[in-house]
Symmetry: none
Subunit: 243 residues, 2 copies
Amino acid sequence: MSTYEQPLHEQLVELLRHKITQEMHPHDRLPSERMLTQTYQVSRNTVRMALSELEMMGYIYRQHGKGTFVANRVANPTNLTTTYSFSDQMRAEGRHPETRILYLQQLEAPKFLAAHMNLPLGAPIFKLKRIRCADGVPLMVERTFLPVRIFPGLTVAQLTDHSLYHVMAEDYGVKVAEANEAFYAGIINGKDAQRLTVPAGSPCLNVQRSTTDPQERIVEYTLSVCRGDQFVYQVRHVNVAQS
Amino acid sequence: MSTYEQPLHEQLVELLRHKITQEMHPHDRLPSERMLTQTYQVSRNTVRMALSELEMMGYIYRQHGKGTFVANRVANPTNLTTTYSFSDQMRAEGRHPETRILYLQQLEAPKFLAAHMNLPLGAPIFKLKRIRCADGVPLMVERTFLPVRIFPGLTVAQLTDHSLYHVMAEDYGVKVAEANEAFYAGIINGKDAQRLTVPAGSPCLNVQRSTTDPQERIVEYTLSVCRGDQFVYQVRHVNVAQS
DNA sequence: ATGAAGAAGTGGTTGGTACCAGTGAACCAG
DNA sequence: CTGGTTCACTGGTACCAACCACTTCTTCAT
């Protein structure tokens, strides 16, 4: 291990994280702690620090007396409550976010979209379909609808370099005031299952989000299909009183 | 520090957590790590382990070269998330809510429960299993765990007439200060599918809830399995500012 | 006075050692 | 074959020592 830059245990985290995501599979066993000390010539303290971080990040789980294993559920129970930005969240977990744009097309709002977006029937809207990945693993499929009237001349080029919210704010001066999300469990259908590289019939979390600007215009309506084994939604209530 | 039961660093966590919540204020400075080693006669390693846990839990923050301080545990003031009340929601939809108690039994906390409820291994707890229905249709299966110590002598009779939170408040004077919920999608297993009268393999929403009283004791831990086709969870974010 | 150097405090990193506590396989006595 | 013991492995806990990096205050020379 190099002696420069980052602390040793951080280097070890990166190294192991790479090994885990690239070369190993869920429930594979990692070398024992004592083994790792020999391999990388660091103390067991350092190894354990690195493993603790990986455990916290959800990459591994440990079993007393048995060993350390690659975890299946990589998603951390991260607070989606404050801000929802896929990229930020993934980066906060030390993962490399990536977005693949499948297409951006213009169409006329059908009934259900017009209703949800508070637009007249047939109003021009953009449909943006994206796949969100972390460390190269596809985690969710997103279908986003945007009123052409609010985002005239939107192109794929704008979206490849920056996040949707960045484009909204910087290119169109649209600020987000409120976001409403609805979650429900479902089953991944064939096509999306293929895109997410999971068997059809796997559980998923469907997320429906509409975003409103200060003038109460709905500026975005998104339907997401998230891998059920990878997403947890956490909420904290303070001063609750319920049945 | 006593030499029994829990590991030293866990004992230290509890001790400090108590001190922090009871006697200290946000941004107060804690004694230095080296100071704590002397005070409690443990090694610095142990002190650091305890502090790391407290940091992770959000009780403290550390500043290199300056010290360790009590965190402001208000966290997200923008938490306008709707509280979830089964009965209220059902009534709002004009449906008749109903709860069937399957059983109430006492058992000793296994590992995972002890961990989630912050209890010693083997501590006596009640397990309450209920089915929630609307208009006679079963919608969710709930497994609730309650510390016997906090709810001594709990009986089915108490729960048949009133809601769990009503019993907590009225019969035991336990007030709820905070609730943390985690949602994730899953597949209903055979037995629960039968109870919910849906085919096995149907989608469900798994909900994990732990409730805390003002003294930071976990007074309830509930695992729910909800019919995916019947439950939607809605969240409203205000003033989102993201990338 | 003023600014640089240093001391002393803080948390952060890394090394080492020892022992405890689960796990599972090998082994042996019945 | 069965059941218990032992042993070699695993991760978990706990101790110690040393040094680094950052902050703050003191001290001293200019």
